[in-house]
Symmetry: C2
Subunit: 134 residues, 2 copies
C-alpha cells in the first residue's frame, strides 16, 4: 500500500501550518476542509505534491477522537494508506487483533472518498482511504 | 524540505516488520542496522523505494530517548526531513523555541551521514538528515 499521509493533531491549523512552512518549507496543498464526520478541520501540507504529505488535524469544538488525542498532547496521530477497495481492505485485516474504530465514512478532504480508521495491536491508529490508483 | 521517513518506536523490529508487511505490504528497504549513537536498532520499510518510508526503531538495552518513548507506549515518534547542510539547517531554526536534543551524530543507517534531533515547540520531535539531494 502507498502511504498517503501522516496525520498530526494540532490545536490550531493556521498557527501550525505557519510553523511547518517556516521551519520545513511545507506548503499548503489544500484549503482547510471541515469534516463533520470526524469533527475536525484538516489541511494537507507538503513540499512536493507527489510525495507523502502531512495532514494537520484541528478538532472542532465538542467531543471527538481527535479532541481526545489533542488533550493527550496531540502530535503524530496516524498513518494513512491508500487502498483500492476499502471494504476488501477491511475484510482482509479484521480478525487479526484489529479494531475498527468506526465504519467507513466519506472524507470531505478526499472529495467524499471513503475512509476508515483502525486500531492495530502493536501498530496503533491507521487510516485507509479508497484511492483507485494504489 | 523533503520528508525522508516517519520514525516509529517498537519493542521488536522483527515482529513489527512482519506486521507492517502483512497488513500494509511494506517491505524491508534495508537490513536491521545497529546505531550505538542513538542506542537503537533501526530498519526502513516501504512500498516504493522512492516514496516516504517508515523507520522502525527498537531500543537497545539500557537508557536512551527511544527507550523512554517505548516506555510511554511507543508508536509514531518523529518526522525526518532531508537538509542539504545540517549545520546551516540547525543555525536557521535555533532561536525559535527549538531545543536541540543532541549535537549532530553520524547515522549508521544513512551510511554515516550526520543527523540531528530537535524538539520544536508546537510540533514535537524532528530529525534532520544531511542528504545533498534535498
Amino acid at each position: 500500500m502507498k502511504l498517503n499521509h501522516v496525520g498530526i493533531v494540532v490545536e490550531n491549523i493556521g498557527q501550525s501550518a505557519a510553523l511547518y512552512q517556516k521551519f520545513f518549507g511545507l506548503e499548503p496543498l489544500s484549503e482547510i476542509v471541515r469534516d463533520d464526520y470526524q469533527g475536525v478541520n484538516v489541511q494537507f501540507l507538503g513540499s512536493d505534491a507527489d510525495g507523502t504529505t502531512v495532514e494537520l488535524i484541528e478538532p472542532l469544538p465538542g467531543a471527538s477522537p481527535a479532541r481526545n488525542a489533542l488533550e493527550k498532547g496531540g502530535g503524530l496521530n496516524h498513518l494513512c494508506f491508500e487502498v483500492p477497495d476499502i471494504n476488501e481492505a477491511l475484510a482482509r485485516v479484521e480478525g487479526f487483533g484489529v479494531v475498527r474504530v468506526r465504519p467507513p465514512t466519506p472524507a470531505p478532504a478526499f472529495g467524499g472518498r471513503p475512509v476508515a480508521f483502525l486500531l492495530f495491536r502493536g501498530i496503533g491508529l491507521v487510516e485507509f482511504v479508497e484511492i483507485a490508483s494504489s
